[in-house]
Symmetry: C2
Subunit: 505 residues, 2 copies
């Protein structure tokens, strides 16, 4: 009952299969945009709720800023920033008119509007009105919003023209405070990825050429997908006074002097769902960590004779009531009784493809024996993954069971990450050879496996070109530096900096 | 310490003052769009959370559909619908380029994209892919999203180019089921308005000329603002097979025949916040119903001598801990200790303008006497509104106190609504005279008061023009019809239908 493609057979096609068969999302008639379906959106809601709590715990407040940004706001940025991204949706008209039986745009705007690719510019404009004195600082806001980047090769969740995200924006009186904020939210992302998504990450700083345009420093969390490629899961930017200067966010400090504020921004998006898929899904479909599963337990009635239906449904109702008294992870348990008019086998495979953590099948025999057939998605196909349990015991131990699944998923992914960071490549020659040989799958879309390489980098200005030619990237300069001397794997020059080299999404 | 303008002095200016002084929202540098600030967005989050629970209880699932809709999707609609709204943001380019030092739009799209004004068309397109058999029905989805309508006279919350809303969309196998759904969600809106926003509403059906384009029937909830004008608070549409036919949502029914589905849509928006303001705010600022207050209780330390600070903060911390054990309305209580470096008097007035339901001022004397100075926003300026209470008693009774405030707010607004529906106007002459005389404030922006008129309507085709000339509207045909005969107030013809006539936002 597996997917059309396996990870080993054709990884990119496998990914598309998982998304389609789990009914998380699909391509839309709106070019390059996706429809996020209930199962995918339910996962996003869980991620949002967990992280929103963290945002509020750390004293940020949610706001909403306009999605249309006047073109002139980008003019200065474009003048100053080389890496200025130009792929954006531009609104030029405000009306439709019928001409010769055809609708055409009319009402040309005096100034075109850009659909936000990110909101630094428009939010800095508000900050400049809100901040007058050091007493008004810090300003700590966040918004949950849709953003648009005109991707030419869209892929569901990973790269669509419109996607959903949160973007935090803050302004501070000192550089130190702003840098602390940047790192605090990076740590919040690490915690979200590891403890909620069960997706281990490496944390560090981006090299100069990978920074957000306008940032002094960009920090990131980087995850490893099952094909060994890296996925940037979240970024946190220390923007120094750059945006404050262009938008004039100035304040009177304690010494009665006018000064520019220091700002930060940080974001994670629906791309995280792509990361969760490529961290946990298998050849049968999706596997959702219990903490973010829209339903953690599915109760499937197995009715063999029509006259048993009353008993079975009654029994399932009672189990559901008992389960509802539980709050694994401190939140109301999420269960679903699947009453649809479909065979229980079809239901089982549907929820298996969706990756619901636990599927319980319950028939008349279970009613009579006070039992439940418990199937764990993570252990599908193993003897452990399919157990007949006493219903009372099953319910009593449900919190632990879900916690164990969550922990096992994290451990499995953590082991994969740790076992796939090569640290024994020490020369430029070995390095080139390694990435040349583990390159093949990129060429023909077939499975190959490419590990991360942790090694030296000189920081040389020509690195960007060399990396591009090799189709690899520096994912980050990890916080945990060895401090040793060595040879830059990329240039062969002496170097002291440790970095993570990898292919990436 | 009141607002610059009063309701009686200049109602429209008063409204702007409330929004500004409560820091709920402000105009943005993005023309016609608003920035929703933390206090306003917090209110929206509460509304969203309450209604989202209702959406899920009634078996709807949240999704997310693209905000860009290809122009061709509107072509058919435009051909068929007279009232087709043409004010929409049109995306025509996908890139910015620098020419002669200036950024200009480039990358002209083959087909322009419309930023969704509402999503019937793009969602029906998805439904047509999802629905094949009667077994796939009903489809019950909802999305929380931003939408755009190119308003020429924007007003914060009431009418901005971009706003936030939820839009539910469903497809059913029979007309009856779809009509039941339409009314179920209308009832959910009534419940939301009355029991969560404390804003009483009239429920009914829209006359033909006020229907949503493409709807068979549009139902609505209508509220009365303090100036006697009506505000449409929510609508629920029975779309029949109209959208199913244009998008080809067809299914094989139980008799193995192909049939078009019956669809519905329903929505409420951030406009509700405008309604809440004009239902509850007074000349001192906003008054927020406890159920949707971002903070229900503000604890303000009053420090007269620096050495008291430790004691006072300690005591406040303890009260906060005790309060946190409470869950009024079945949700965690929302409290804020206002530790900012500002005078307690300034804090009091700030939270008064914001309309926090309860403000507690606590100084050293209160610590010593185990007391709390409790100020109720709703009773500001009365002896009841300012009481020194035993802290233990105050905490113990907090759930009841908040519930009472919520109920009092509803009762007050309900009485206002009921007392301002005139039913004794029975002739066309009286009717014309009434609206001519209570019209003045519209002309000069000054206070006047105009009640709703409940009376007969003939349903004549020329009604729309007559209403327009009188600057009034038919808000709804209420469900509770008297069934009596009478004279149409608008045309003087015989009529049996009761309607609500009013000026409106």
């Amino acid at each position: 009952m597996g997917l059309k493609n396996t990870r080993a057979g054709n990884y990119p096609e496998w990914y598309q299969n998982v998304v389609a068969e789990s009914e998380m999302a699909e391509n839309s008639s709106s070019p390059g945009c996706m429809v996020i379906k209930p199962w995918g959106y339910g996962i996003w809601e869980r991620i949002r709720d967990v992280f929103d709590e963290k945002i509020k715990e750390t004293d940020h407040e949610n706001c909403y800023f306009p999605m249309f940004i006047p073109l002139s706001f980008f003019q200065k940025e474009a003048e100053h920033v080389d890496g200025f991204a130009k792929e954006m949706a531009v609104v030029t008209h405000s009306r439709l008119a019928m001409k010769d039986g055809k609708l055409v745009p009319e009402g040309k705007l005096e100034e075109p509007l850009i659909v936000r690719p990110t909101s630094e510019a428009i939010i800095a404009d508000s900050f400049s009105k809100w901040v007058k004195s050091y007493r008004d600082l810090p300003v700590l806001v966040n918004q949950w919003a849709n953003v648009v980047r005109w991707e030419m090769r869209p892929r569901l969740f990973l790269r669509t023209r419109e996607f959903l995200w949160q973007e935090g924006h803050t302004a501070h009186a000192t550089a130190q405070e702003a840098e602390e904020e940047t790192k605090r939210m990076l740590e919040a992302y690490r915690d979200l990825c590891e403890n909620t998504l069960a997706m281990p990450v490496l944390v560090g700083r981006k090299p100069e050429h990978e920074k957000f345009p306008g940032a002094v420093d960009t920090y990131c969390v980087e995850a490893m997908m099952q094909d060994g490629k890296a996925l940037q899961a979240g970024t946190s930017h220390f923007l120094g006074q750059n945006f404050a200067k262009s938008a004039n966010i100035s304040f009177v400090n304690k010494n009665n002097e006018s000064e520019f504020a220091y700002t930060t921004s940080w974001g994670v998006s629906t791309r995280l769902i792509g990361g969760v898929i490529m961290t946990h899904a298998d050849d049968e479909g999706m596997v959702v960590p219990p903490k973010i599963a829209p339903y953690q337990i599915i109760l499937v009635p197995v009715i063999k004779k029509a006259e048993d239906e009353g008993d079975v449904m009654n029994y399932i109702g009672k189990i559901a009531e008992e389960l509802k008294k539980h709050a694994p992870f401190g939140e109301k348990i999420r269960i679903k009784i699947d009453k649809r008019n479909k065979s229980s086998v079809d239901k089982f495979w549907e929820w298996t493809r969706k990756g619901a953590p636990i599927i319980c099948e319950i028939g008349k025999r279970d009613v009579d024996g006070n039992n439940v057939m418990v199937k764990e998605r993570l252990k599908l196909g193993t003897s452990e993954g399919k157990q007949i349990l006493n219903a009372t015991d099953f319910v009593a131990a449900i919190d632990d069971r879900l916690l164990n699944i969550q922990n096992e998923m994290f451990t499995k992914a953590k082991n994969r990450l740790e076992q796939n960071i090569l640290t024994d490549i020490t020369t430029q020659e070995e390095f080139n050879k390694y990435f040349a040989e583990s390159n093949s799958w990129i060429e023909d879309g077939k499975q190959g496996k490419v590990a991360f390489v942790r090694g030296k980098w000189s920081g040389d200005a020509n690195s960007e070109e060399l990396l591009k030619a090799m189709k690899i990237t520096i994912r980050c300069i990890p916080f945990d530096q060895s401090g040793t001397q060595g040879t830059c794997l990329l240039t062969g020059k002496p170097a002291t900096m440790d970095v993570i080299y990898a292919r990436s999404y």
